[in-house]
Amino acid sequence: METASDVRAERISASGAIEREQTKPVAIRIWNFLISKKLAIWNLILLAVTSILGTVIQQNQPPEKYRQVYEDWAYNLMDRINLFDMYHSWWFLLLLCLFTLNLTCCTMDRLPRAIRTVRKPKLTLDDAMEKSLPQSERWQIKGDIPRRAEVCKAAIARLFAAPKVTEADGVVHLYAEKGVYSGFGAYATHAGIVIVFIGAIIGNVFGFKSYVNIPDGKEASHLDARGGEEHVNLPFSVRNNRFWVETYPSGQPKKYASDLSVIENSREVLRKTITVNDPLVYKGVWFYQSSYGQEGGATAQVAVSRQDGTPLGSLSLRPNEPVRIDGYGVVRGVNYEQDFQGNGPALQLVIEKPGRPASNLWILQGRSDLDHRRKDSLVFSFGGLTAKMYTGLQVAKDPGVNVVWLGCLLLTAGMMISFFVSHRRVWIRLSPGPHGKVEVAAAGSANRNRPALEKTFASILAEVRNDLTKTEKENPA
């Protein structure tokens, strides 16, 4: 944030500079362009306006999708200027570079001045300054300067801040200030923005964003990179023990969860159930619950028992995949119906026994008694289909993210300082006045929130006057 006095200063220098601008060397003209606030304003507006494009034109869609919407010539033109991935286009990045350059140059130009005002404050009040400051007053009192100065000093210290005292040629100057770091808020904000950019670059260069689908019970260490970027091989693997969905009574989804294990050197080193807002982190790699789906075909669960009812185990039949039962034959599940002749879900089995023609039968879910009547050596009962699920994990590594948060913190703090902290300065000068009196001149300034300064200044003056009058009465010099 600049102040009104800066505006004034700029106006004065600019009005004198207009004619000279043409004759200045090119390098200086470029520099003046790079540090100008006008460039900042236009840059911000340009970034805002161009950003709109990418929200109106869907980004990063497959070419076919665009061709459906746009004519050939329009598609070619838009593709040429990267409108389908505009936030990564050369021209948008160029705008961002110009923006960063503007920020950096501004800081280089103005920061030294800001530091100077802090390190070398104007400790004395001269006539010209007194006239130019919005708050100033003069009056005369009796007494000698050093003693009066002590009284003023105490009053200012009590109400505002401890003043610095300078003495020259019998004139005493008191100077006190508050909120001196106010002027640095803007630089902190600007630095914060640049740090965010640096964090983003670190993330882009050293990190990755990837995606992997893992079926229930399987593990993965190889990740597919999105958008045709390089694939990633993790130094460990992740096993999806189980994925599930929980729903509210109304049927709306309540929770998507994956029970994950991290496997390193064939050992499980970490296990965690992740949900949409609760990722798993291992060695800087984050795994997020992102999607899910059904893996391949479903498997049919079939329980097998002897005629006398002794259970022998169960089969998981994949479509048309033969399963051998020793001493019996080969069983295949070939067909499934959701509602078999009004009797509910059913599975069609083909049983091939050695030396016999294949037999073909339907078994109903939950009705083992029916197959019992077939009088075969084994009885099959259909337990239903289980669909195997996979979990879709977003996998990301971003070593720049903490740099980004640091930048965010800095830019927010800087913003608060520059909006709400005011650099308030108060001067008091005690000089020999006419008729052996002491002339007191007081002045104040603030870089923002003038009304607040007026109040502070008034109360300081009241205190100073009051104390001076009091001491005047107590020990008239």
């Binding site: 009104a4 949900t275 997020y288 971003d398 993210v401 965010c408 927010t412 913003m415």
Partner: protein
């Protein structure tokens, strides 16, 4: 039959309508008493809508899906109107001038009318929204939006007043407005409150996105529009201290900023597609 919270919000809508009418009538009739009634109606609306938010929150717990009432379009509209009203009352109290009401409270009223046309039942939270970041993100954003709404209302007043000051007259309704200096100051003050909140809203949103999706910025339309809003107000802040840009141009940026805010808040959901669909 609507639940209690919705009835209370309907009552709030009526009160905002009443307050808007009263403020506008007070402005045209130059009746300070009327304006004072407007203030009291706004205070009543503030109390009732606050109670309604509390009731809605409690009702969600009774339904077994307890969550903060800022998670769908209806709730966000109501919360926006609530924030605008409170921010306005603060400004009115601080500046001791009731003419702003005619320009700000209608924004709250229109918002409530729009909310009225939306589905108002309490729905459970989809998995993506089940996070504590939700609270910080939504509240910061909406305080920012409310401040921008007040700023835009005052910026319109600034234009009217500036035109009159140029013509050097003090006639009619506009004559009662505070000076352009005060109005400019208020436009700025509202923005310096709104801007850090918007910034915090964007940052909490980014942090949440990073925690839920693994990326803090994905150029999703909502994100991009929040950035556009941020850029416009950043331009405003610089314009105000730049020769040739303060005054009217800065006021234009304040109004453009609020239009961008509306686009970010509603337009993206109603016109564009993306991750922020208010669960609908």
């Amino acid at each position: 039959m609507n639940t209690l919270n919705v009835q209370l919000f309907d009552l709030t809508t009526l009160l905002f309508g009443g307050a808007s009418g009263t403020y506008i009538a007070a402005m045209y009739g130059k009746k300070e008493t009327l304006a004072r009634i407007g203030t009291w109606i706004c205070v009543a609306a503030a109390v009732i809508s606050t109670v309604a938010l509390g009731v809605r929150w409690a009702e969600s717990y009774q339904m077994g899906i307890g969550r903060i009432p800022v998670t769908n379009l209806y709730e966000s509209l109501v919360f926006f109107a609530w924030s605008v009203n409170l921010f306005y009352l603060f400004v009115e109290w601080k500046y001791k001038n009731r003419t702003f009401g005619a320009f700000v409270i209608p924004i709250a009223f229109l918002t409530m009318l729009f909310a009225f046309t939306n589905e108002s039942s309490i729905q459970p939270l989809v998995p993506a929204l089940q996070s504590y970041w939700l609270h910080a993100h939504v509240i910061t954003c909406f305080v920012g939006y409310a401040a921008f709404a007040v700023s835009a209302g005052v910026a319109v007043m600034y234009f009217l007043k500036a035109r009159q000051e140029e013509a050097k007259t003090e006639k009619g309704v506009i004559g009662c407005f505070p000076s352009t200096k005060t109005l400019d100051d208020l436009v700025y003050k509202s923005i310096i409150w709104g801007f850090p909140f918007l910034t915090a809203g964007i940052i909490t949103g980014a942090a949440w996105a990073n925690y839920a999706w693994g990326t803090y910025w994905s150029w999703d339309p909502k994100e991009t529009w929040s950035l556009i809003v941020w850029l416009v107000y950043a331009a405003f802040l610089h314009a105000r201290i730049t020769r040739g840009w303060h005054g009217k141009r800065a006021a234009i940026l304040s109004i453009v900023g609020f239009l961008a805010t509306i686009m970010c808040y509603l337009g993206v959901n109603l016109v564009l597609s993306g991750l922020h669909s208010y669960g609908s």
